[in-house]
Amino acid sequence: MTATAKRTSAEYHQRARELEAASAERPVKIAVLASFTAELLKPYIVVESADLGFRIAPWFAPFGQLEQVIMDPASPLWKGEYDLIWIALRLEDLDPHLHHEHPALGPERTTARLDALRSRVIAAAKAARANTRATLLLSNFAFSSLYAPGVFDASDPNGFGHLLAATNWQLAKDAAAVSDTHVFDYQGVVNASGASGWADPKLWYMARAVCSAPNHAALAQGLARAVSALVRPAVKCIVLDLDNTLWGGVLGDDGIEGIKLGDDYPGNVFKEFQGALLGLHQRGFLLAIATKNDEATVLEALRSHPEMVLREKHFASIFANWDSKPANLRRIAEALNIGPDAMLFIDDNPVERAQMRAELPMVHVLELPTDTTSYVAALLDCSLFDRPRLLLEDRHRGEIYEQSRERLKHLESGASLEQALRDLRMMAQVGEAGPQTLDRIHQLIQKTNQFNVTTRRHRLEEVRDLSKAPDAKVAWLRLQDRYGAQGLVCVGILRKLEPHCWEVDTFLMSCRVGGRRVEAAFMGYLAELARGAGATRLRGVFRPTSKNEPVRRLYPELGFRSVPASSKDSELVFEIELEDGVLPWPDLIAREENPKRHDA
């Protein structure tokens, strides 16, 4: 992020209008409640979100009205069906003299004033949460150049900077206690852009502008990244070239001893790049290789080079051959069962990147700089890795795929499929959603494309409400087998249609457990839940999308009969009578009862 705008102000206005006129897809609707003139950000937000590949349509509450807008049930805030509400209060707007008064006030009274501001933000968030399922984003507090602390402020343990940092820390803790509520790192954006040039006093005094004209772009970019991370799926897999990407030089020409990788330039550039990729791997991004190289040499280099940070086990898929990169990327997508639109391609060669863009335009391509010393910065600045939080499943994803290669070898070992599945010794645990599982359930609802019969992207708050509603049930399944735990892989939501008929609102499964009868087990569990709630009939709907063709026949294959669809032509409707013995739990999956009804 830089303070230098990519476009002039006039160009932002022009481009924003073009985007607003042209865009067909539904934008992410956000409401902005600010203590400054946030409307000035509008064209920047529209353009910066488009640069990240989506569109934000902002609405601005009247300046300085926070509680009024939130507390009034008739306010436009509650009519707009916003996906996200940004509460952007600034210290310098709401308590402008605190910084000047701090030395005389002393730490206790200064902290009390900061606490009042933080409490106001949290109270507003809680009041909003009671009214909306929208994601909430709360700005933290920053210094701007107008309010820069004194030279020895940092030397004083009670200096203003330290008290402000403590306030921001407490804000983060308070926000974490309100569901689907996150801190927007306003302070981070200010610092990244340069606190000394952040504000333009003239624009502030004249118009209550949040910052200088060029910094409007930086703030909008920071906001667009945060919104993107909150409402859009992250990439799942990073596909890497090797020569001059993961190491310096050409393996085929230079040999394993000749490639550049180590603790001194130029090898240290590549070693750190690998370290950054390992960090991403540990955060749940899969790594794969698509390289024009001899496979045996590549494996030898990954196994034996003493300075190699990334080893064979870190890669979910390796394709080393002389085929085109798009062809190999397709193979990786197929092997890992993920869509090309969830993949990021990294290659130092601009010709390869251009070919990828031309043949597979949905694949994300990192614009790797020619200067290798900027590799790490280019990688870490990529917004596609932004995520609001890391779930347990993310941390273990790499291992899970590692196990799955073992499992695949097992399933291909020659025994009958039935026997091979038995030998996996699968064990499933099922239960209803509770506080421990909601985040993962929501994550799967957001990102599962293929094995998803309705693709209803419920928000976190909706799922929470459904999990507590008397006429709905939210259920999950966890799977493990002899190769390890796969985590929570199935999500189902049931809703009561009539006293004796319940409908499967959502039925989805992570593709990594496909082909193992897990779906039959989970449908059996949902049928039990429906029966337990008094249902005698279960209804299922298939809503086709561009990606869920694999589950078109799921219901008939499980024994449901087709019934005429009522409203929408493309929807397929199925029903089954919940008589004894229908939808049996497959005996090749052992079942572990969840001891508690809720997993809290």
Binding site: T8, S9, R17, Y205, M206, A207, A209
Partner: protein, 79 residues
């Protein structure tokens, strides 16, 4: 030959206010453009300062009410 000042001003006004360039004349002013409001004046100020590499005082910003006035302010600034 560099582009005349008035044409450059018309371009900025056109971009910021969302008017087709051919509809923006020397006489175009806040009287006949509905969204030429106080917010637009700040937007115009930001865009003009950047386009012409000048700093406008808040008082000068108050004069950003027509293409003609903007051109006059800039002529004085750039003279």
């Amino acid at each position: 030959m560099p582009e005349p000042l008035e044409l450059r001003v018309r371009r900025v006004v056109s971009s910021v206010l969302g008017l087709p360039i051919e509809q923006v004349t020397l006489k175009t002013s806040n009287d006949d453009v509905e969204n030429w409001d106080s917010l637009s004046i700040v937007n115009l100020m930001m865009a003009i300062e950047e386009e012409f590499q000048v700093g406008l005082s808040p008082e000068e910003a108050g004069d950003l009410l027509s293409v003609e006035l903007i051109t006059q302010v800039l002529q004085e600034k750039l003279a």
